[in-house]
Structure formats: structure tokens, C-alpha cells
């Protein structure tokens, strides 16, 4: 075999209006390695990979595969070069079956689709790499974890040997991440190379052989796994130390700010998602809800905010029933919502940062805009201030938010939701996809609100996050609270049992 690295990217440059997303980046990938790509939100990781996969075209720079200069103009070219990519956002056709998604666009199939053989092959491939899927299932019925597995099987099926995984673990449960990692290990043993993007440093340290850190569109250098630890990586990414694991501020709990009583809510499919659930949160308290995704967390949040009709039960804020109150009224009485889906619910992609921040028009201390009179000047000033305070990286306050990276989009949402002095905050996966700095920032912002006396309902996937922030942990299973624990890692096992559907009281008996 030749000695060339399997892939080299040289002096890649890519500018978007107002940002230099990739600034003269060079990257070398060796055969059979897991190469992690780290960097803050907006550092240019996805852009670089999109260039490699032919989705974007670089302004200049070149790509060498096995030492040979190669032009990649479209994903088709990339696929021909045995490059495969799992995008940061799913690229699946919801109404197709798993098998159909896998063979979509592949040329070596007859005119008439015969999926039988393919289904068998996918099944075998899945078993071989321990990525179980059901080839006949329609994608829209599947969980995010299963969808992620399909994305990876898609690559394996085409025989890709350079695999780009752009934040594949952001939506996975810990068990699913384990599965993915064992598949990755198997792949590199067989000689494939994997480019792995993640914001979770522990994962990066666990799986990768070498690590490149991008910062402001530049490659700060490639390091061997042995040479680094958490701290050096953070410093490289952010350019400074990030204070972590600070003490939670002690706050004397105030009166009950929000109370949910015997709430029952249905999901989109018409099945019961929240089942006779009750909880209450005091002012200055954070209640963390732990549970496997899809156990009613989303529906609970939407019901409280008023996006989803409730079947039975009651929701009270400061003693007042919210039933029949419009969302607007709820917002005015101090309810804030940080939704999981920041693209479709939380923001208007085509509006500017400023209009997204002022969408709710509830920031106190400012003159209110009316239908006839928009306080543009004052809005500009306030937006600039918030951009500074929340360190949102955007070319200007007039930039459409669709052009922001995931992390910065989330900061825009936070800026809006937290600057209205909320008394109750529903935070659903508030740090999903955020880099360490931003994550720490969100934690500080939420703890700050807690200090000011807000009641916060935290729905998060990561136990780490729940322990880090909450005062109490409620474990949810099939829409019911199985029990409460203190926010301490020593309760992890107990929480695990409850997440699987065992009630707190029956754990004691055993």
C-alpha cells in the first residue's frame, strides 16, 4: 500500500456573506483512524465537511484522496470517491421505508424496486455492526436513535471508507452512543477512516485517535489523543479556561410558582403521552425531569405553554388556572419557553436576529412597539446589547437567523426568553448541540434566573445536565412520574431503574 494519507484537504477557504467560515484550513486524515473535529459553534466544522462532501464549493483550496488531486463538485462525486456523510440534520425521506432510504439514488439497482434482497442485506449489515434496524419500517415512525442508525447504514451500504459523522451523538441516549462507538471501532479496524464531530469532550477523548480543533474558521492544529486532556482542548477551542462545575447558588425556595395537577395530554398520534401527572415547582427552584426521550416530556412542555390541548387536569401559575388562557396571555403572565426544536417553533428563519428577539415584544423597561409604531432605534440598541451579553456570533443584528450556526441560534432564543424577566421557564434540551462555552453560558443564565426567583422546569436528556442544575429530579416514564431523587450522581442507578418503568416505592421493597 502507498504511504499517502487517505485524505488531505489543503488551504480550504470558504466565505459566506459576512463570515469567513473556513480560513485556509488544512486537514489530514489517515487510514484507519478516528479523527475528531472540535470547535465552538460556528467555528466552521460543518462547512468544512460540506465542502468535502461536495455540498458547498470552496473558494479555493484542494482535496487529495490517496495523494491524488480530486475535484468534488457534488455529493455524487463524493460518493464515487467512497466518502459518506451523516449530516448534522437528518437527511431521510420520512414516508419511505428504511430499505428504500438506503437504496435511494444508488445506480446499481434495476428499474423496478425489489427490496427483499436489500432488506436482508441491511439486516445483516446492521447485525454485523450491532446497529439494529427494522428494514421494513417507515422512517417517520422511528425514534431519532433508529434514524441515526439508518444514516450510518446508508454509508456502510455504499461501501464508503471515509465516513463523516457530524454530531451523530447529539440526539442519542447513552446506550445508543455506546452502540455507535462499538460500530465505529469495528469500522476503523477494518481500515475505514472516521471523521467525528461532537461537542461532548468525553466522547471525543474516548473514541478518537487524533483531534483537530477549529477556531474562528482556522485549524489550530492536530493533536494526538495521548497529548491532550479536557482542559487543553477547552483552551484551544475557546481560547480561555471555562469555569466548570461551579456550585449551585443556594436560594431559599419561594411560594409555588407553577402547579400541574392530574394532567393528561395526548401526542400527535392520539395516544396518551402525559398520564395523570402532577408536579409543582417553587420560585427559585429547578426541577429536572429525567427520562428516555419520547416518554411525554415534549407533550408536557407543550401543554404547559399552551401549544397542545389538555385532556384532563389543571395547570396553575401563581394560583391562577391557565385553562382557556391564550399563549399570549401566558407569556404576559411571565411564562417562558425554550423549545427543543429551535428551527421550527422557536425562531422565524427568514427574520433578522433583531426581529426574532423582539418577536414576543415583552422585554421590560422598553417602550412597547404597537401595530403602528415600531420602536426600531430602541430595538436596535437593545439587540446589540443582547448580542454582546449573550455573545451571539452574528455578522449583524440584521442577519437572518437561518444563517446562524446551531449554537448561536439557541443563544438568540435564550436572549429572547430570558430577557423578559420570566417567573416560570420551561427549558427543553436547552444545550443540545451547543459547544462547551455556550453550554456553560446557558447553565449560568438559567442559574441566574433561578437566583432571581424563577421556577424552572428542565427537560433534558443528559443526566449530567440535570444533576448540574436541578434541585430535585423527577423521573418520568410513559407520561407518569415514577419518583423523585436528589440531584446526585450516586442516584444514577436508581434513576436508571425508574427510567425503565419501575416505581420508586417498589425499588425500596427489593
Amino acid at each position: 500500500m502507498d504511504d499517502y494519507p487517505i485524505l488531505e484537504m489543503k488551504n480550504i477557504q470558504k466565505a459566506f456573506p459576512g463570515v469567513l467560515a473556513n480560513d485556509n484550513i488544512s486537514l489530514e486524515i489517515r487510514r484507519g483512524e478516528v479523527h475528531a473535529l472540535l470547535g465552538e459553534n460556528g467555528a466552521g466544522k460543518t462547512t468544512l465537511m460540506n465542502i468535502l462532501f461536495g455540498i458547498y464549493h470552496p473558494d479555493h483550496g484542494e482535496i487529495l484522496i490517496n495523494g491524488k488531486k480530486t475535484f468534488i463538485h457534488s455529493p455524487q462525486d463524493a460518493i464515487n470517491e467512497k466518502i459518506g456523510m451523516v449530516q448534522q440534520h437528518f437527511a431521510l425521506v420520512p414516508s419511505f421505508t428504511v430499505a428504500e432510504n438506503v437504496i435511494l439514488g444508488l445506480k446499481n439497482f434495476g428499474f423496478i424496486i425489489k427490496t427483499k434482497q436489500v432488506e436482508q442485506q441491511i439486516k445483516e449489515l446492521g447485525e454485523r455492526y450491532s446497529l439494529p434496524v427494522r428494514p421494513k419500517a417507515r422512517v417517520w415512525t422511528l425514534s431519532v436513535g433508529e434514524r441515526q442508525r439508518i444514516e450510518i447504514l446508508k454509508l456502510l451500504y455504499t461501501g464508503a471508507n471515509i465516513l463523516i459523522l457530524d454530531e451523530p451523538t447529539a440526539v442519542l441516549t447513552p446506550q445508543e452512543t455506546r452502540q455507535l462507538f462499538s460500530a465505529i471501532r469495528k469500522l476503523v479496524k477494518e481500515g475505514s477512516s472516521v471523521i467525528f464531530i461532537s461537542h461532548k469532550l468525553d466522547e471525543v477523548l474516548e473514541i478518537s485517535d487524533r483531534i483537530s480543533v477549529l477556531r474562528n474558521g482556522k485549524n489550530t492544529g492536530t493533536l494526538n489523543r495521548e497529548e491532550v486532556d479536557r482542559r487543553t482542548l477547552v483552551q484551544r477551542m475557546v481560547g480561555r479556561d471555562v469555569l466548570m462545575d461551579q456550585e449551585k447558588p443556594k436560594v431559599e425556595p419561594g411560594p409555588v410558582k407553577i402547579e400541574v395537577k392530574d394532567l393528561t395530554v395526548k401526542n400527535d398520534k392520539g395516544l396518551t403521552a402525559v398520564n395523570n401527572l402532577s408536579l409543582e415547582i417553587h420560585g427559585g427552584e429547578i426541577l429536572g425531569i429525567a427520562g428516555v426521550a419520547g416518554n411525554g416530556q415534549k407533550e408536557l412542555a407543550e401543554a404547559i405553554y399552551g401549544l397542545r390541548p389538555i385532556e384532563t387536569g389543571k395547570i396553575q401559575m401563581a394560583g391562577e388556572d391557565l385553562h382557556h388562557r391564550s399563549i399570549k396571555k401566558r407569556i404576559q403572565s411571565g411564562l417562558s419557553f425554550i423549545p427543543q426544536d429551535r428551527k421550527s417553533i422557536a425562531t422565524c428563519p427568514n427574520l433578522s436576529v433583531m426581529f426574532n428577539i423582539f418577536m414576543k415584544n415583552t422585554i421590560p423597561g422598553l417602550k412597547k412597539s404597537s401595530a403602528w409604531n415600531i420602536q426600531i432605534k430602541q430595538m436596535h440598541e437593545k439587540t446589540r446589547e443582547l448580542i454582546r451579553n449573550f455573545s451571539i456570533s452574528t455578522p449583524s443584528s440584521k442577519t437572518r437567523v437561518r444563517y446562524l450556526s446551531g449554537g448561536n441560534l439557541q443563544k438568540v432564543v435564550l436572549a429572547r426568553e430570558l430577557s423578559s424577566n420570566p417567573s416560570v421557564i420551561i427549558a427543553e434540551h436547552p444545550t443540545r448541540g451547543l459547544d462547551i462555552g455556550a453550554m456553560e453560558f446557558v447553565y449560568q443564565a438559567l442559574l441566574e434566573e433561578k437566583k432571581k426567583g424563577s421556577a424552572i422546569l428542565l427537560l433534558a436528556g443528559e443526566l449530567y445536565e440535570i444533576f448540574r442544575l436541578s434541585d430535585r429530579v423527577a423521573v418520568i416514564y410513559e407520561g407518569e412520574v415514577m419518583g423523585y431523587t436528589p440531584p446526585d450522581p450516586s442516584y444514577t442507578e436508581k434513576i436508571g431503574f425508574m427510567m425503565a418503568g419501575t416505581r420508586e416505592d417498589s425499588i425500596h421493597e427489593n
Binding site: 437527511a91 425521506v93 420520512p94 414516508s95
Partner: protein
Amino acid sequence: MNDALSFIVATLHATVRAGTPLLFAVLGTIFTERSGIMNLGLEGIMLIGAIGGFVVSYNTSNLLLAILVAMIAGAILGLVHAFFTVTLKINQIVSGLAITMLGSGISGLWGKDYIGVVAERFETISIPLLSDIPVIGRILFQHDLLVYISLLAVPLMWFFIYKTRGGMTLRAVGEAPEAADARGINVFFIRYLYTIIGGSITAIGGAYLSLAYNSMWIENMTAGRGWIAIALVLFATWDPYKALLGAYLFGGITALGLRMQAVGTHIPPDFLKMLPYLLTIVVLFFTSTDTLKRKVGAPATLGVPYSREDRT
């Protein structure tokens, strides 16, 4: 055969004839919209097909050549629509309306010298044996060539869309273009292709009016059929079989109106003529796009231009 039965049989026979131009237009547009391009230019495309076909038929008496020219004319308008919407990313509704105006303008101009003349038309071909079946034979198997073609097209198209690789690509492009793109499918090419094919099939519907339903050219002879077809595409939820149902339902209303007028009822004729349009409103009311789009499998990106570097 008693009177009532013969009235019913004659009405059903006329239903098929009146439904055929709609069926072509709906089938063509199902292709276009499956790829994610909304086309409101049907009326214009049908008109251009009608006049294009008629001119050739009048001058050469060659009906197959006439259909071919009609299809080319429709394909050209489809190409224009694709250029506007795929390449220039102009609002698809606006482009569609422009196509309608363009089509009806050109057809009016082109057809000025052909008003009042008669040309060759598709003759009835009775299918041996099948046409002898009582009742059914008369209703379904005593028609012209185009009717048979449209009837064959329905299952073929269904098979193509749901069972072949080409159909899979088409559906993927309409439903999740970024997924298709990531798999190396050329989204722009597919959208061009099916907007052009859709235009040419729609134009056959127009040609049917001037070469089979009638054998002459009348200005604006589509009389709103293009708009009805747009509503029918929604009604059919982009499914060829339901398109057949919808087209014949409307054909039936039209035929019934005409028949009733012929036998002389007390219902005012203007009301009978109005029926198809009234039904269109009812159909639109019950199948508003929003509810349809939520169903899985509908072209989710209908009306939305695709661009790689634009984040969504």
C-alpha cells in the same frame, strides 16, 4: 333498453369523454408536483396544447403529429416554468399565473385564423368483443384512442411512481430534496424533467378538447378546466387512481348538466353549467392544503425552491 337505462348509459359514456381532458391535465400535474414544483399554469398549457394540436391537424390532417406538437408546446411552457421556479427561484404561484396568461395569450393570437374551421378528429374505435358487453361496453369501450391511452396511463403511472426507481427518485425530490441531494440525485435536473413532462401531458388534455371532444378551435375553449384540474390534484392527493376518480366525477357533473339541458328540465341551464365550478369550491373547502400536507408522502416541499447553500 328502457329510457332510464339508456339515459344513464349515455350520461356515463359522456362522463368518460368529459373527464378525459381533466384526467390528462391532472396526471401531468401530479408528475410536476410530485417533484416539488407547484404549477398553476394548467389553463395556459391546456390552451396551447389545444391550439397547437388543432393547427397541425388542420394543416396536415395527421392526428398523431398534432398530438406530438401539442406535447412539445406544453413541454416548452413547462420548461419556461421550470426555468422561472427552479433556476431563478421566482415564486411558483406567480410564475404559474404568468404561464396561464402566456398560454392563453399565445393561443388566442395563434388561433385567430382558425376560428370557425373544422379539422380532422380522433374517431371512435370500438374495441372488438369488449365493446359488445352490455352497458359497460358502451360506457368504456366505444371511445377514441386518447381515452384508451389515458385509461392505460393511470395504472402505469401509479406503478412508475410507487414501484420503480425513477418514481422513488421523483418522490424523494419532492419530499426531502436535501436527502435526495445528499444521495447524489440531481434535484434541479429532476425538477426540470418532471415540470417539462408534466407540461406535455397536460397539453394532451387541451388537445383532446380540439381534436376529439370537438373538432374545432374556440378561443379559451378550456373554460376553466385547467383550474378545476388544479383542485383535482389536491383532491387526488397526488395519486393517479384518485385522479381518475376525481376527473370522472367532474366529467360526470358536466355530462349530467348537458344531458339535463337536452332532455329539458326546469333547472335553469346556467345553474347546470355552474355545477363543476361549484363542486370545485366544495372540493377545495374539504381538502385544504394544510391538512393534506400533514399526511405522510405528500410532496412536503411543494412550492419551496431548493438551494444547497441556503440553510432551512
